[in-house]
């Protein structure tokens, strides 16, 4: 440009986001053009180093089976794989690095924007390692101790290799484990069966909704369109959306993890039997987690169907009516994204210990009411209805609305700035107000987290809060528990067995530092404690010192490796 000025952006100008192409499901899922179905996703921009290595994620392409290490360049601002052919996507380890980085980054970003703050991983550190080719095994898992997500691969007979890292949902599922572990680390401790199911079920929910929030996936799943891009009305009828579209996508997920997860997903597609809570096979974490997945997918359908209503002409004859496939897909993707945000937002309102399904319903409703007081589309009612149909009720007396409580907490002598960031200050607050909050101080008590959050409601206004969690612990023998609770412990349980009990609560403060909500699981809820004890004893979940309720006793880094080994005969093992 003679004499002029170059106005093109310099390559290293920071941007807020970069767009990257990823495989939308896994390489076996093809689009209309019979090529691998891909999508372009926006992820937060970060300064890049080799690895690739950004601010929060670090890809280490080391294969422990073969001992080879590949260092890939940092992700460029302009996607190198925007027009790459399928073969390159499948075989290029550089692309594999991009796939895991982008999928994990998109997941982190979904959590951060829903919760309105930066999120910590479950471990002490800022970089989550992503190992795209960790070992030759059809397995993928999160290892807390190694601060890593490990993705295996399956070597094939004829140079064809199946990579778990190329399955978008697998990467999202594992990333969710790392995030949930950061939010509620006590959920990995021995608890009631819902608790183990929560990690699996919620990770599946995030994976499914995340896949479903990509337009190309929904478009593809809706089925073939005519030359004008229109589909028949019956293709968006509720039954077809459930059995054809959603099931179709769900069945394609997790296939590479050969342990029957694909097959089990099918059961997530159908509502659980009414007596599921009584059936032994529903004690297996994956199977139980699917109850949550099934509920949330039904809500997704409800929202989608509602959002499709304006697109349908009521007076048109159903047989000939058509609608634009891209628009229908957009509504589905938007429904998934909204529901995902809603579910993640609820996490801050969960109690810190002893998760039960009803707690999730409660938490999502509470969080949603803060941000979207009106709920004009009735999403909350849909959620209540679907949980209710699955036999999950809102727990009673677990949440105290402190603002409306007869006796307000003391605030005198508290420093707002300290209260919103300092665990000791929050502990002082809890100590001073113990009686007013009905918190028994006889037990070991610790503030585990104090976290600010800022969220934008649909009206564009910011909802600032901060949330603190405290945990209480008590070590005693089964016999002592029997005396304290004045309730019978299982007959076959040795009264000398050491037992650890947990309780705790979540404190939600508003922007003035006033306590709004106290969500609690009291340690001295003896009936719950005995239910937990009975469950742990009956299922033989003793640690190596023959204690109950202390730890799960898995080898280092292996807590999640085994969880993915779903047994075909769930509920048949001892």
């Amino acid at each position: 440009m003679p004499g002029g000025v170059e106005f093109t952006e310099s390559a290293d100008t920071p941007r807020s986001h970069i767009a990257l192409r990823i495989i939308a499901q896994d390489p076996s899922v093809k689009g209309d053009d019979d090529k691998i179905l891909t999508a372009t996703v926006r992820i937060p921009w970060s300064r890049m180093e080799d690895g690739p290595r950004g601010a929060r994620l670090h890809v280490v392409d080391f294969d422990a089976s073969t001992g080879r290490y590949l260092k890939h360049p940092g992700l460029p601002n302009d996607d190198e794989f925007a027009d790459a052919e399928d073969e390159e996507l499948e075989t290029s380890h550089v692309f594999h690095a991009q796939q895991v980085y982008a999928a994990a980054s998109r997941t982190l970003s979904a959590f951060e924007s829903a919760l309105g703050r930066r999120l910590a991983w479950g471990f002490n550190g800022h970089h989550l390692y992503l190992v795209p080719h960790a070992f030759a095994e059809a397995n993928a898992y999160y290892s807390f101790e190694d601060r890593a997500l490990l993705f295996g691969y399956v070597p094939g007979d004829d140079e064809t290799v199946t990579y778990t890292c190329l399955s978008y949902d697998v990467v999202v599922h594992e990333t969710t484990h790392a995030l949930l572990d950061g939010l509620r680390r006590r959920f990995l401790e021995p608890g009631l069966p819902d608790q183990a199911a929560f990690h699996e079920g919620f990770a599946d929910i995030v994976a499914l909704l995340s896949v479903f929030s990509m337009h190309p996936v929904v478009e593809q799943a809706l089925g073939k369109a005519d030359k004008n891009g229109r589909i028949k009305r019956r293709q968006v009828e509720r039954d077809h959306l459930r059995s054809g579209v959603l099931t179709g996508v769900a069945e394609q997920l997790g296939k590479v993890l050969t342990q029957g997860r694909g097959a089990l997903r099918r059961s997530a597609m159908t509502p659980p039997p009414p007596d599921w809570a009584e059936l032994p096979q529903y004690e297996e974490p994956h199977r139980r987690g699917e109850v949550l997945v099934a509920i949330v997918l039904d809500v997704l359908l409800d929202i989608w169907v509602k959002r499709l209503e304006p697109l349908l002409q009521p007076d048109e004859e159903a047989r000939v009516a058509t609608l634009d496939r891209a628009r229908a897909a957009e509504e589905g993707a938007r429904a998934a994204a909204q529901l995902l945000t809603m579910m993640i937002r609820g996490l801050d309102y969960l109690p810190p210990v002893e998760f039960e399904f009803g707690d999730l319903l409660d938490a999502v409703l509470l969080a949603d009411a803060e941000v979207v007081p009106d709920d004009d589309l009735g999403y909350r009612d849909m959620l209540i209805d679907r949980f209710d149909k699955a036999g999950v009720e809102r727990p009673r007396n677990r949440v105290t609305n402190v603002v409306e409580a007869e006796v307000a907490p003391h605030y005198l002598g508290f420093n707002f700035a300290a209260l919103r960031s300092d665990r000791d200050e929050v502990f002082r607050f809890l100590w001073q107000n113990a009686q007013r909050l009905d918190v028994c101080t006889k037990y070991y008590t610790v503030i585990e987290s104090v976290r600010p959050s800022q969220r934008v409601g649909p009206d564009g206004l910011i909802v600032p809060e901060f949330v603190a969690t405290y945990v209480q612990m008590l070590d005693l023998s089964a016999g002592e528990l029997r005396q304290m609770a004045e309730l019978a412990t299982p007959e076959t349980l040795d009264p000398a067995t050491p037992v650890q009990l947990l309780g705790g609560g979540t404190l939600v403060f508003d922007q003035f530092g006033r306590l709004k909500l106290h969500i609690h699981k009291n340690l001295d809820d003896w009936r719950r404690q005995l239910r937990r004890l009975e469950y742990l004893h009956r299922t033989g979940r003793y640690d190596t010192d023959k204690r109950l309720g202390f730890s799960e006793g898995a080898a280092r880094g292996q807590a999640f490796a085994e969880l993915h080994n779903t047994e075909l005969g769930a509920g048949e093992a001892w």
């Binding site: 670090h58 380890h93 190992v131 030759a136 059809a138 290892s143 190694d146 070597p155 050969t258 640690d543």
Partner: protein
């Protein structure tokens, strides 16, 4: 015509392993002049018994079997190809004794049939993939068996790798093909007769052991029950193929690198080196999982035999785990006769030495609901604690199962025998149970 009067079952102390002798006693001599018939079910050990118990070496057990059979064996059953069920066939003293006893029929699961691989070139998917041959076995089963056999070979290579983690080596060793033992069984089967069984087929014992009715409940072939191969629609035996390929990769030399992925950069000090240092342990865990899956797969080739003699019935499931049982569990729902039979058994050989996933809870539930009019159930468990399972949850025998079995049966474990007891012997009249300890 001779009829069976009495059934005697002996469980030998073999440490960790299985070795059972089923003896039928007739009221008068059969055609060959003998008034008894003997069926040996498994003949193995991987670890001698704990302190203060009879050692249970095969060289000690073999003479006892010779004595108890009076020198003639009618049927040998190998439930599946694991050392703790067949080591005796490879042991010098054990093999010599078996040659002398000259069993007339050798029964093994269908996956052991050496003629299978020859037919493994059928379609991998689509029409024809799941069509059984006249013997109930089709191409998908053949491929499954070939992959399984190949995976065992990989485990063998793995076990031979120098510097392998000791626990892993021990686990891999248990998956070896045990060629010597199989060679002896082949030899015996060739001299007399042999059969490879699958669910529903005739065991062919009617003439050899009059009065004994054998129902083969498992293993199913892939054609009979696709879950055997845990197949997906596109890829009929993906699971086993994946396991085989992964084990081969793990067994290969560490320098193997796939084309296009050779460039290895030196790793200097820093976070990457920290992680790489720790990933080695994950590889060990990963390979251990693969070996365990192979172990499970082999256990799931176990013959599940329901043996009925007069008013007595006995269940010998080898090491069948839930996947092997699944075919039968599904049938129970719609087959009242089978359900009644399994509810009313007199003897249960505890599956897989009392591991957590070899006695299906729904089977146990049948026994918990038994009517009081049925004679009490006896359970025989050949096991040794502290051999398998690193945690309470995976320990063999599993404490919760042992407790549950004691609630529904008289449980006799080899681990409860003392130094002077090289075997335990129970006996029952064919008019009806219960079995009782032989005086």
């Amino acid at each position: 015509m001779s009829t069976v009067e009495r059934v005697r079952v002996r469980m030998y102390q073999v440490g960790f392993g299985d070795c059972f002798l089923l003896s039928l006693e007739y009221d008068e001599p059969l055609q060959d002049g003998r008034a008894e018939r003997h069926v040996l079910i498994d003949y193995g050990s991987t670890r001698s018994a704990r302190k203060d118990r009879a050692k249970g070496r095969m060289k000690d057990v073999a003479p006892l079997i010779r004595e108890h059979t009076h020198g003639q064996l009618d049927v040998v059953v190998l439930t599946h190809r694991h050392k703790d069920h067949l080591f005796g066939f490879a042991d010098d003293a054990g093999a010599a004794t078996l040659r002398i006893l000259e069993p007339k029929l050798v029964l093994r699961p269908w996956t052991e049939d050496p003629s299978l691989p020859a037919r493994a070139d059928g379609p991998a998917s689509g029409a024809g993939a799941m069509v059984a041959g006249p013997d109930g076995i089709g191409a998908a089963s053949a491929r499954f068996a070939r992959n399984l056999s190949d995976a065992q070979e990989a485990a063998g290579q793995l076990a031979a790798r120098p510097g392998l983690h000791a626990g892993l080596k021990a686990a891999a060793d248990e998956q070896l093909k045990n060629a010597d033992a199989i060679a002896l069984l082949d030899e015996l089967a060739t001299q007399q007769a042999g059969a490879y069984l699958f669910a529903g087929c005739d065991a062919g014992t009617a003439n050899l052991v009059p009065g004994l009715e054998v129902t083969v409940l498992g293993p199913a072939t892939v054609e009979q029950d696709a879950r055997v191969a845990r197949q997906t629609e596109e890829h009929t035996e993906y699971w086993m193929a994946a396991l085989r390929a992964s084990l081969h990769e793990a067994a290969g030399p560490a320098t193997t690198a796939r084309a296009g992925a050779e460039s290895t950069v030196p790793v200097g000090p820093g976070p990457v080196r920290w992680l790489i240092g720790r990933l080695g342990e994950h590889k060990t865990h990963s390979v251990a999982r693969l070996v365990r899956k192979l172990d499970d797969a082999l256990n799931n080739t176990s013959l599940i035999l329901l043996m009925e003699v007069g008013g007595l019935s006995m269940l010998f499931p080898g090491d069948a785990q839930i996947e092997d049982w699944q075919h039968t569990l599904d049938r129970i729902a719609g087959d009242a006769e089978l359900k009644k039979k399994l509810t009313g058994i007199d003897l249960y050989k505890v599956g897989h030495h009392g591991s957590r996933n070899a006695t299906p809870r729904s089977l146990h539930a049948l026994w918990a609901d038994r009517s009081d009019t049925l004679p009490p159930l006896t359970a025989l468990m050949s096991t040794r604690p502290d051999v398998h399972g690193g945690s309470e949850a995976t320990a063999v025998p599993r404490a919760t199962l042992v407790t549950a079995l004691k609630q529904v049966a008289t449980l006799i474990s080899t681990d409860d025998l003392d130094r002077g007891q090289a075997f335990v012997e129970i006996v029952a009249e064919t008019t009806g149970g219960p079995f009782r300890l032989a005086p």
